[in-house]
């Protein structure tokens, strides 16, 4: 699947929004520097949702790595980008 970095971020934002009950406006504040756990305050089950949704949406698989190993949105985007190449 060919996808630009911007497209990956948009899809990731969509997952982050749907993972937790917050308003759509919050998506605008998500940048590559956003810290997933600290800035967005996800619970462990919220993080699990994100991991599973990423695998579904991008048709990739996290190999030997857990979603909580990623700190920022950039880290996740880098991983997805690497997987899609």
């Amino acid at each position: 699947m060919l996808m630009t970095r911007t497209e990956i971020i948009e899809k990731l934002k969509d997952i982050i929004i749907s993972a937790d009950s917050r308003t759509a406006e919050r998506a605008d504040s998500v940048t590559e520097d956003t810290n997933i756990m600290q800035d967005l305050g996800f619970t462990s089950i919220g993080m699990l949702y994100i991991a599973i949704a990423i695998e579904e949406v991008f048709s990739i698989r996290f190999d030997n790595v857990g979603i909580s190993d990623f700190v920022t949105v950039r880290n996740i985007v880098d991983y997805i980008e690497g997987k899609l190449q």
Binding site: I17, S18, D20, S21, T23, G41, G46, L48, I52
Partner: protein, 502 residues
Amino acid sequence: MRIENADRFRRYTDAETFDKIVDYGTITAMWKHCAEEYSELTAIEFDGEKYSYKTLDDDAAALRSAIRGAGVQPLERVALIAANSYDFVRAYLAVVTAGCTAVVLPAHLDETAVFGCMMKFGAKALVYQPALEQKTAFAKQRIPQAAFIPADAKGESAVPVYEAAEADPCMIMFTGGTTGKSKGALLNHGAVMQGTVNGCYGYEQVFFHRMLLVLPLSHVFGLIRNLLAALYTGSTLFICKNNQDMFRDIAAFRPTMLVVVPALAEMALMLSKKFGRNMLGPDMKYIICGAAAVAPYLVGEYGKMGIALFPGYGLTESANLVSGNPECAERPDSVGLPYPNQELRIENGELLLRGRNMLDCYVGEDEQAWQDGWFHTGDLARFDDDGFLYITGRIKEVIVLDNGENISPAELEARFNALDFIQDSQVFEDVDEGGRHFLALEVVPRMTELASLGENPMKAIEDALWEVNSKQLPAERVSRIVIRDKDFERSPSMKILRYKKC
């Protein structure tokens, strides 16, 4: 209310199956029966391997022999540390069938905590998953007289299954700490057996399920309702090695029954809606949901998918199961009918319990589990006319208003949570600049339902909340409503951290 037998549950299961729900008295007798009756069936699937009941029995027997070979006698305590795995299962069965009391340690404890627990509970030995060997180092150094036995150890001479009595201690489990600090609750064989059998009442298909395990086995909900109930019913238990792979495991294993906390049931529902397919697989029939309040919304949504989600109520101190709801579709806000051999009493609104499934005592604590022969749950409860139980709040959370009126926030929250587009809410007492105390409400909307609310969902939510509010008794009405843009702060066990503003 005294419940002496399970007859109330008879109507939910066909007669032949119901009569097969037999109480063996103790976990040792139960396991002897299971190992014999289900010998060739698969008991556990883990990490790509399948283990039959016979293999599990043989492996547990080999480890039991090693435990006894290390000089540990029946009725002595043996600590157990293992992550969710086949090792946990064989270690647990080996310890218990050796006649020892299993002190079940959470796998995340560090080596000093492992040492501390062995000291506190007087453990003569520690059985550990080989992968967790580093957690034994400190205790090995400080308690050289104790035995340290890996879960794959094999003894030399055969040791028969110990014939435990119902009153013999079976295991010590850590409480969740919702009533204060975490404590070790001692459960005897009769209590654990009762807790296991209780899990079988109230639905049609009881035996030979395909069950998935995602809850920690160091918690009674995982250990009794998921593992022991699976073994008791001749089911196959698939142990997820990594919860991140849960849905891949489901796709491959196709479970028929799932035991989960509400947050996980909600997550699976959100994923199913997002991707337009049932993420729990085509064979899923039953979800057993508990350990926190279950939103009626979950019962309704899973019902539409053809899956019965049964809310229940239980505590570590009650060997997990006090009640379960066989009529979830008709009464989704009830935690159901009390299971047999219990007495339930409501005193000043609080639920008090006693019966066969209850703990003997807390171990190594000054705190007494029993007051005048009753266990005080700290939960506010009521029964309806048909004997169904409802949990309406925690006694510690009760708000006493200026006018002396007692308000249970959880009871009010349940009314707001009944709106499909409300995921969670919190009612609390606040104080304005003039020092006037008032009730306030904060809610977290359910994202997946917002689209159905038209162009201005926030306005629609607010209007609906004020509408619900207007129907409350005057003393119970809130004066301020806030719709949050993020979740509440939560404890590690996912419970909302309540505001203390007054």
